[in-house]
Structures are given as C-alpha cells and as structure tokens.
Symmetry: C2
Subunit: 308 residues, 2 copies
C-alpha cells in the first residue's frame, strides 16, 4: 500500500494537465480557463462516517457544515470566491430523513454565509454514510495564488492558532475566505495553501511544489489554547500545533517587503491572528530554530515525522 | 424513509436556485452562467461497491469507465460537451494500488475518447469503496436542452435499444455524447434526459418537469437482444425494455415537423438506432397504445409500477 501522497503523485503523472489547463492535480483546487479576466476553480473533498466523524457522536448539522467548509477552505487557499456546490451522498438503507434534513440545514447555514448556491447532487445507496462535495469558484487572474510560487527569502505566515482540532473544533471551523480575499486584494502573496494535514506536512508540500525549503521559528508558532490544555494529557502543545491535522488555517508566503506591510496591519487579518512563523530557503527540507534572531538550528524532538 | 425522488424534491425546495442560476437541482446537470454565448454545466454521480457493482466480480477498468461514463451521459443529456472531471474516491484500508491503477486506466480510456481532462480529486479512507465523479462541461446557450420544455404534440424518441443492462452491459456503455451533439446541432430538440432508472420512470420525470403527459406506443419500443433473450427466464422483454435501469440511452422530444426530419436520417443517429416511441400529451400521466394508428388504450400489464 502506497502512502496517500505517493498515490496522488502517481495519479498526477497518470493524468498530465493538457495545455489549456492552468493547474490540474496538485493544488488546493484545479484552475481552468473561464474568461479574459477570470479562472474557474474546481475542488472536491469527501468526508466519511467512522473516519472524519462519527454518526453516533456528531450532530448532523456539524457534518453538513464540515462537508462544505473543507471545500470552501480550498477555494480560499487559491484566493478565490466560491460560487456553487454539488453534494454527492452515500446513504445507508433505513437512514432517517430527519438526519439528512439536519445535515442539509448545517450545510445551508454555511452556504448562506458565503453566498454559495447548492445547485445539484447525487444520492446513492451505500453501507457507509459519505458526503463528497464539489465546489466551483472563480478568481481574478491576478489574484490567483498557487502552491508552487514561494520565493527564497519569503516570510512564511499562518492565520489563526494551530492545534485546535483536538477538541473536535475541526467540525465547526469557518473557512478563511474573507481573510484570503483580504490578502490577495491588498498584497502580493506568492504561495498559499490551507492546512488540512498539519502545518509540518502541509508546509513540506508547499515547499516541495515551490522547489524550496523552509526554516521554521518554533517560538513564533501560534499555539492554540486547546493545544496548550492538552499539556495535561502529556501531549506537547508545540507538537500539536505543528502536527495535528484539520486546522483549516492558511499558510502563505510573501516577500520581506510585503511581509512588513502585512505585519503592520493593526487588527491582524480582519480580527484573525496572523503570525510570521518562518522563512523560505533556497535548499529543500525543513529546519527549525527558536526565532528569527536565534539562528541556532534545533533538532526535531519527536519521532515519526522524519519524512519532511 | 422517503423514496429517492421524494427526497430529491425536498432537497430541491430546501435549496431554491438563485436568479443567476439558469437551472439548479432537478435536471441532468446544473446550468450556470459562463459567458455571453455559453453555459457552464456541472454534474456529479457516485457508484458504490455492493450497490452499483461488485468489487469481486467487476474488472477495475470497468468500474473506472462507468464512474466517468454515467456523468458524461448527464452532460450529453443537456446537449453539452464535457471538459473536466474530478474524482473523489473512498478507499478501504489495505486496498491494492494495482486495483486503483487499473480503475484509473479504465477511466482514462473513456476520458481520452471524449477529450475530458481529469484535473483533480480526493482520496479518503472508507470502509466501503466508492467513486464520486464530478464533470464540468459547456454548452452553447441555443443548444442547451432541459427536461422542462416538452410540448404537447411532440414526438418522443429514444436512442439505441432498451433493456440491455440485464447482462451487465451497464458497465461498458458509451455515453451518447456524439449523438446528442449531432441532434442539438441540426434539430430543435425541446426536452431531453438520459435513461438511468428505466424508460418508464425517467419518462414520467421528464413529463412531470414539463407539466405534460405521454402516450407510449408499445410496438415501437426498441427491445434489445439482451432483453429478448431474457424471455427464456420468464421475464417479459417489453417489461425489461420499459423498466430496467441503467440503459444510459437518451429520451428526447421534438415537434412533429422536426420529428419528420429526424426520422428521415438515413443511418439513424450516426449509426445508433433511433425510435419514435410516443407522443407528448397535454394531460399528465402516461398511457399506452400499440402504435400511433392503433389508438385503443392498453392497461399496464405488470404490477408494482403504478406510481408513474
């Protein structure tokens, strides 16, 4: 069995993007020609009972919200605006209509917040409940941000606080659409992606796509209160912040000049915390130091994450 | 538990299409604004192990082919051209890479045939294998065909021969994209949809959307050889042709004047058989008679299909 990232690489080489496709497999969303000024964005993400949530424990509204939110997060990561959603459900026999209605109610609440129209879908019998949601969006060509354009010397930023998913926060998050649009409308952002598999894994992907590396400042990582509380259970808060999946925050890079302007914002990003957590390096790999000034390199203190 | 069609009606009333959406839930694909001359088409369809195919019996290439084909059939039914596909897979733990590669090989073969680019997707763990495929396509505004525009007096046509799915033909079908484009480029087609749940159910949906009814000529139904062979097993061939799902042929209507021109085509529809099987009536419901000339009404001879 291959790892997921290796499997994606295989699939990517199996389906090379034709010339008309600006970006195929390998970013948060596919980027396709729309008109002279815009690109069409398409993304799909599925959640499955027993893996991404538990039917018996999770409110149906939260499942519906999350099924859409993870896709809006992908559109945000491209600098785009979501427009339409399609909802493909696998429904076990005898499933209650009340549950499905509440699922859609949760989705509708989020869709309304960002003016996304649910325009289609599919219902299929399935032994396991799943929801695969497709979102189509749009982005102005000059506002599009890909994963592959980080430059050596760029400052690396993250939104929000990390390691929140421990306490099931991952079900209730608000995708960073407003923050992403604010960024791409006012600043030159070089590269961006959303955090679904944890900062370390996702930053490694961002750097790999950009053919660069990163130096991470451990003291500048915005550790969430939830991660700090986990200390009681003998879990390192920093490790939670670096490695926990499903934060759905944004990681992005900008030149030092732009970074200064971004850091001068008085209220963070529309009230959302913003942290400069590292710098893009020319050479591949991710290294750690305490802060920008303290340049002594740290060893990664935890086992099992050697592969980035 | 509601029936699927009732559930779709509920969902549809829950997500009314905003003004900018030409057609939301309730057709083969959603129809969305693209540019002055074109509409964007979006459709999604999922297939699930144990329901739509059986992992142990079905070649992975056939599963990949079908997962895309059912979506291309929806684009065909709108008169459109497919452009892009996104593939969302639910993969059980320990699933073999070889299987997945062969699945994508089957899909790639069909994608290549119709120049569809696979531009994205998602991989999720799931106890049950599923493939939910989204296809985006495009149609010229004046070639778009919806379900809701059949006119009283229209001739009703179907492509191909019906009741083929008995012998697992449903895994290998070629979506009627070329036939549909041929039709919309040369004739004025009033209403069209693809046959996934059997002619009787789907024709009832087409008529309901158009607020019309239909008179079906039983002697003109193109019964497939596969359905004829089923006679040995005491299954009525006509019933198979009328009620079996997964034929993925097209049903469409056109005015009597256009119908004459369509029937004058020398080689059917690019070699595909074409049959005029009935007429659109003003009053709702579906009735049967032997042929256009023999106007004596027949009683539906089989139980269990009273609901159309």
């Amino acid at each position: 069995m291959l790892s997921e990232s290796m499997l994606i690489e295989k699939i990517r080489s199996f389906f090379p993007a034709p010339a008309k496709v600006r970006k195929g497999i390998g970013d948060d969303a596919a980027v396709l020609p729309w008109d002279k000024r815009h690109e069409l964005l398409l993304t799909v993400d599925a959640i499955v009972d027993g893996v991404d949530f538990h039917l018996k424990q999770t409110r149906p509204e939260a499942v519906g919200w999350k099924a859409l939110a993870i896709n809006l997060s992908d559109i945000a990561a491209m600098g785009g605006l979501p427009l339409y959603a399609l909802v493909s459900l696998g429904i076990p026999a005898g499933f209650s209509y009340a549950w499905i209605r509440r699922f859609y109610a949760g989705m509708k609440k989020l869709a309304g917040k960002f003016r996304v129209a649910v325009v289609g879908g599919d219902l299929t019998r399935s032994k396991v409940f799943f929801a695969s949601v497709t979102v189509a969006g749009r982005v102005e060509k000059h506002k599009l941000v890909l994963r592959d354009s980080a430059k050596a010397g760029d400052s690396i930023f993250v939104t929000g606080r990390l390691g929140r998913s421990i306490l099931e926060k991952h079900l209730k998050f608000t995708p960073r659409l407003r923050e992403a649009r604010f960024l791409v409308e006012r600043f030159k952002i070089h590269a961006m992606m959303d955090l679904s598999d944890g900062l370390m894994r996702d930053l490694a992907i961002l750097m790999k796509e950009s053919k660069k590396g990163a130096c991470v400042f451990t003291e500048d990582i915005p550790v969430s209160r939830e991660a700090l509380r986990a200390r009681k259970r003998n879990i390192s808060p920093l490790r939670s912040a670096l490695c926990d999946g499903e934060d759905f925050e944004l990681v992005f890079t900008a030149s030092p000049g732009e970074a200064k302007k971004i850091l001068a914002l008085k209220h963070g990003l529309l009230g959302t915390p913003l942290s400069c957590i590292g710098r893009v390096k020319k050479s591949p790999g991710i290294v750690f130091q305490r802060s920008e000034k303290d340049t002594e390199k740290l060893r990664w203190p935890w086992k099992g994450y050697e592969h980035f």
